[in-house]
Subunit: 158 residues, 2 copies
C-alpha cells in the first residue's frame, strides 16, 4: 500500500518562533493530531471512544528534528506501525512537505490502550482493533524500514 | 544547590484535551519554554541572541509520560545538565507540581548551539557559555541522577 497519510496541515502562525520556524513542541502537536487520526483506522473513532471509554495514551515518545519547517508550509504525516502487542502499539510518524520525499522530522512513540472509566487503566485492544492493527501491519510490509526507531540520546552518538 | 527551576506555569485551557488533561505535545511545549529560560542561565539571553545570532536548536528529544496533569494545576520544570561538549548540551527537564516531589514527566534532550546568520550552522559555545555550563554542572553534582536518560523505545522493554 502507499504510505498511510494520517494528517495534513499548513504550519500556522501560533506554531512558529520569532524566526518564523516551527517550534520543537509543535512538531509533536502535529504528530499528536496524526495519532488521533490513526485511532480512526483501528476503530477508536471518537464515537467509539465515547461508547466504550477506550482510548490511547502516549507512554513515551522520541523525536528527531531533521530540517526546519517554515510558517505557511503545507506538511503531512505518514504513519507506520512498528510493532504492537495486546495493549500497546509502537508508531512511527514521519513529517514531510505535502507530496515531498525528504523527511523533516520523525517520531517513534509507544502508546497504551486504556479504559478511561476504570481509572484510566491499561486494557487489551478490542478484537476489532487488533484485527485492524494486524491488517495494517501486513499492508505496510512493503514500506521502507523507518530510519529513526529505537534511538538513544547521548553525546557519544550511540 | 537546590534544583534549578527553569519554568513555572498553570496548565491553561489551550493545552488540555477533551478530558481536561494536558495533551502530550504540550508537556513538550512547557519543556521548550524551560529551555528558553535555561538559555538565559548560560548567557544566551534574547539580547545576546539578537547581538550574536547564536541560539540553541533541539536536535532530538525523548519524553516519558508518568502521570496525567489536569487543567489549572500549577507545574514547574526542574532542569539538570546531563552532559555537554563544545557545541552540544544534553538537558534533562522534569515536570513536577509546583513544590511537589513526584515526577510527572521527564524529557531527555540534545540541543545544538547554532549561528543563525551562517545558515543556521552549528557553532561552538562562547567561552562565557562554556564557563556557565561547567559551573552549573559542578553546582548540580549533588542532585540525584535523572531517572529517564538514554532510554530506548520498544515492546521488549529494553
Amino acid at each position: 500500500m502507499p504510505a498511510l497519510i494520517t494528517y495534513k496541515t499548513p504550519v500556522i502562525a501560533d506554531w512558529v518562533d520569532y524566526n518564523g520556524h516551527l517550534r520543537d513542541a509543535f512538531y509533536l502537536l502535529i504528530f499528536s493530531y496524526a495519532t488521533d487520526a490513526f485511532m480512526d483506522h483501528i476503530g477508536l473513532t471518537s464515537d467509539a471512544r465515547d461508547a466504550t471509554g477506550n482510548s490511547l495514551f502516549t507512554l513515551e515518545a522520541h523525536i528527531n528534528y531533521l530540517h526546519e519547517v517554515k510558517l505557511g508550509e503545507e506538511v503531512e504525516v505518514r504513519t507506520q506501525i512498528v510493532a504492537h502487542d495486546r495493549k500497546r502499539v509502537q508508531l512511527y510518524h514521519s513529517l514531510y512537505k505535502a507530496g515531498g520525499d525528504e523527511e523533516l522530522a520523525a517520531s517513534d512513540q509507544m502508546l497504551l490502550h486504556v479504559d478511561l472509566a476504570a481509572g484510566p487503566k491499561s486494557a487489551p485492544f478490542s478484537e476489532h482493533s487488533l484485527e485492524a492493527l494486524c491488517s495494517l501491519t501486513e499492508a505496510q510490509s512493503d514500506q521502507p524500514a523507518p530510519a529513526y526507531v529505537g534511538r538513544t540520546i547521548g553525546l557519544s552518538g550511540k
